[in-house]
């Protein structure tokens, strides 16, 4: 991190960096874990606006009455879920290497909100079709039997759940939105573990919480003491329609 008194000087220095012909988009891959899982998407946007100022980046600002940096995020994560594969596109108007951008940002962040990669994007956010998740559930009655039942439940259509959409609530079958799922019982940790790939496109998005809801409603998972039982959701990867890597 730059010493505080240096930053305004640094901002002036940025103005001497070679100007780019047109604003260049840089994609930041970041993780949002631990206590950051409780921070909403809106608060995350606000936070990044400030982080970008602190980090002294040659960010391109919109012109006009209320100039602001353009930040574009990938599929929002719901509160209570963690992720190691969130994406944010920023635009710069002067030369700076991706590596340096990453370093500067991380100087202003914590371990729980941390840039893991910065690069020139190849894909458009609209190409995101799938997201993979790891979940872990610590609940009364967790055993091999429950894992088997959960596996069966999450693979047999129809599995009707109330889904909130823009136009209100409606019952939908979530099975077509699950590409793959495997449930196992971890003997050592006494937990259920779920690995799954769910729809994550802008038109068809399955919130991973829905799987937990399905297990709650049908198998009585997590119906004991909430101070003792817990579950975690970790988004591990985003993929394109053909399951290839999103870049």
């Amino acid at each position: 991190m730059l010493p505080e008194s240096q930053k305004l000087i640094e901002k002036k220095r940025l103005k001497s960096l070679p100007e780019l012909e047109r604003p260049l988009t840089v994609r930041l891959k970041f993780r949002k874990i631990g206590s950051l899982q409780y921070i909403s998407h809106l608060d995350l946007q606000r936070t990044f606006n400030r982080v970008i100022v602190r980090a002294c980046l040659p960010v391109w600002y919109t012109k006009g009455f209320n100039p602001h940096a353009k930040l574009v995020f990938s599929t929002p994560l719901s509160v209570g879920a963690q992720s190691v594969c969130e994406y944010l596109d920023i635009r710069i108007d002067r030369e700076m290497s991706c590596e340096e951008i990453k370093e500067r940002l991380n100087g202003e962040l914590t371990n729980e909100l941390f840039i893991t990669d910065a690069y020139i994007p190849k894909n458009d956010f609209s190409e995101i079709a799938w997201a993979s998740y790891d979940m872990e559930i610590y609940t009364d009655g967790a055993d091999d039997e429950m894992a088997k039942n959960a596996q069966a439940l999450l693979t047999s259509s129809p599995l009707m759940l109330v889904k909130r959409t823009k136009s209100g609530e409606k019952e939908v079958d979530i099975i077509p939105m699950i590409s793959s799922v495997s449930v196992s019982f971890d003997d050592e940790r006494q937990t259920l573990k779920i690995k799954c790939v769910l729809s994550a496109s802008s038109t068809e998005y399955l919130n991973p919480e829905m799987l937990i809801t399905a297990l709650k409603q049908n198998l009585g998972v997590m119906s004991g003491d909430p101070a003792l039982e817990w579950y975690t959701i970790m988004r591990t990867d985003l993929m394109k329609k053909d399951m290839s890597e999103f870049k």
Binding site: Y38, I39, L44, R46, L109, E112, L113, P226, A227
Partner: protein, 619 residues
């Protein structure tokens, strides 16, 4: 954070209030720390995180290598329910450890209506409410902030109070604690005694016996030791340029009340409005130099990335070097797309030049505080603002195309008549007239004037500290009358809940006999009484009644001028003679010049201070 609490966090509103992990928080190695301090703000995270004083003291305490200060806020109702249900104690943000295990717990008392939250937090922490019930193994409970000047209603719950500015007192308290622990001679009683004896500004309520007269008034405060002060004198920072300033701040992830840089330009106020406690207890005025302020602003901007800098002080236009300061700031703020805001502008200082300079003055809605509707009553309260000043100020705004103005008033002020109330309505219509007379007004828009009327509350350490508050019936009648005087739809009228103001008056002028009522209130689950949705007047009346307390004794009674006041135990720097003189002038409808025009001999100059406007005190 442990996984257990995660399930609970997923089920409450705004879990970001409790999850911690903010950038800029200070984490220390517990094994190397000798005193752990829990700094409690008795309200929500969003309010507490916005408080400048807390930020300063958090930094001051953590500067001490062997002290670890952490933040604590009062969990919102839904979270409290979960905590109670599952037996989870109140924990500090940074470590997540229960605060009952800490060495010291400090509460900042910013407003009387947060007293129930203090008790609520002690209870959530699993600590006994009364100081006498807490033994040597439990944390020392410290109170500070403006309400500590008359904290008698909560005195029985605290071990000690800091009177005045805490930047030096709190580290001194920690040092003494560590020293006595190291030397193996710590007991709570010995510690409190030594603190009261050796540290200026420390008030240990249990060291003063209070006796009462038959009529319920106070007879005397008697110290139980002869080596502690008979009256506790407030502490101040004499040189504000040298006062500690937080160059790093904890950055909240969730939205708080003030998401901006708060730059404290000076302490104190030259004005002397007769109802205003802040204007008296923070005397004398002590300014920072523009150079220092400019550096501090840069530093904070760089440490936070906020896009707004707010110049905070009681009346920003009274800063002698406002012009120099804003010029220095604008040199770099505009380039970096940072806006300046001046929240406490007086009407007589609102000019076109200023408006052109300060973007937020241009964009935000305008607010002025004439406080009273007629010149007579404004003279009584020493609000030296003329109707012409107000009309000139709104004209500047209307010429620039604005069409909305908000005006703050107070009802129930001493000597107030219905004439004065009508004056409020008249003033508002004059503002509307001014709009239509303004040739360059925004012709497409109608004017909108909002008048917001609060209720007068007699506060300790003001010239009006002896006054009776209007009864509820009187206040309600006045509110209704004023409403009937406003017929123009372009004037919007809102008023405060008189019931809240009454309870606030009881707590503000209360004495130690209120403690059982507050303890009972806590037992019955009172919390967040500063929030409309939580305040329940009937429950308050019932609690007071069951404890044999007549709220009128504290709120609606004119205190005798020679009566011993609960707060006489504190020396706030301003003399009682001055308050009496000011009171007499109020009834004579005579104003007092501000401190820069002429010193009125309030006594605050004895406190010292650099870049003040007081004459040097004779020793």
């Amino acid at each position: 954070m442990n996984k257990q609490i995660s399930t609970i966090l997923k089920s409450v509103s705004k879990p970001g209030r409790y999850s911690g992990g903010e950038y800029g928080q200070i984490i220390k190695d517990k094994s190397k720390v000798k005193a752990r301090f829990a700094f409690c703000f008795p309200d929500t995270y969003e309010i507490g995180m916005s408080n400048l004083g807390v930020r300063i003291l958090y930094g001051v305490l953590n500067k001490e290598e062997d002290v670890w200060c952490e933040r604590v806020y009062d969990p919102w109702i839904d979270m409290q329910e979960k905590m109670r249900e599952h037996g989870l104690p109140l924990c500090a943000c940074e470590s997540g450890d229960p605060i009952s295990e800490f060495d010291m717990i400090g509460f900042t008392l910013q407003y009387e209506m947060s007293y129930t939250n203090v008790l609520n937090m002690l209870e959530l922490a699993g600590l006994p409410l009364y100081a006498k019930d807490r033994d040597d193994s439990m944390p020392i409970i410290i109170g500070g902030g403006p309400c500590a000047y008359n904290a008698e209603p909560v005195a029985d719950f605290f071990d000690l109070f800091n009177i005045g500015e805490g930047e030096e007192m709190l580290p001194e308290l920690c040092r003494l604690y560590i020293k006595m622990k190291d030397e193996g001679r710590y007991t709570k009683q010995a510690y409190l005694h030594e603190a009261a004896r050796t540290i200026e500004g420390i008030y240990v309520p249990s060291f003063y016996d209070v006796t009462y007269n038959d009529d319920g008034t106070i007879n005397a405060y008697t110290p139980i030791y002869d080596d502690i002060p008979k009256q506790v004198k407030k502490r101040i920072m004499t040189d504000m340029d040298k006062a500690y300033f937080p160059d790093k701040v904890v950055m909240p992830y969730i939205e708080t009340v003030h998401d901006r840089v708060m730059l404290e330009v000076y302490r104190g106020c030259i004005r002397g409005c007769r109802f205003c406690q802040a204007g008296m207890i923070y005397r004398p005025v002590r300014e920072k130099t523009p150079e220092v302020l400019n550096e501090q602003a840069k530093c904070l901007y760089q440490a936070t990335g906020y896009d707004e800098i707010s110049l905070t002080s009681l009346s920003i236009s009274d800063y002698t070097q406002l012009e120099e300061l804003t010029d220095m700031l604008l040199e770099w703020t505009n380039d970096n797309m940072v806006s300046l805001s001046l929240p406490s502008l007086r009407v007589d200082s609102f000019t076109k030049e200023l408006m052109d300079k300060i973007a937020t003055v241009r964009s935000s809605s305008l607010t002025f505080a004439p406080e009273a509707g007629t010149q007579r009553l404004r003279d009584v309260i020493n609000k030296n603002v003329k109707e012409d000043d107000l009309l000139r100020a709104v004209n500047v705004a209307f010429e620039a195309g604005k069409n909305t103005v908000k005006l703050y008033f107070m009802s129930g002020l001493p000597t107030e008549t219905y004439e004065d109330l009508k004056g409020i309505a008249d003033l508002a219509s004059h503002v509307i007239d001014a709009y239509y007379q303004c040739p360059t007004r925004n012709k497409g828009k109608k004017p909108q004037v909002t008048i917001s009327v609060s209720c007068f509350i007699p506060k300790p350490f003001t010239p009006f500290q002896w006054e009776a508050q209007d009864t509820m019936e009187m206040l309600a009648e006045k509110q209704e009358y004023l409403g009937s005087q406003i017929t123009d739809r372009k004037i919007r009228y809102t008023h405060h809940d008189a019931r809240v103001s009454r309870i606030e008056a009881v707590l503000a002028r209360g004495d130690r006999r209120l403690a059982p009522a507050l303890a009972l209130a806590c037992k019955e689950g009172f919390a967040f009484d500063a929030w409309d949705e939580c305040f329940d007047y009937d429950k308050w009346l019932s609690v007071l009644e069951r404890c044999g307390i007549d709220p009128a004794f504290y709120a609606n009674r004119a205190f005798g001028l020679d009566e011993v006041l609960p707060w006489d135990i504190i020396d706030c720097g301003v003399s009682k003679e001055f308050f009496l003189r000011e009171r007499a002038k109020a009834y004579g409808e005579r104003t007092t010049p501000n401190c820069r025009e002429q010193c009125s001999g309030c006594g605050a100059n004895k406190m010292g201070g650099e870049r003040t406007c007081c004459p040097k005190a004779k020793n």
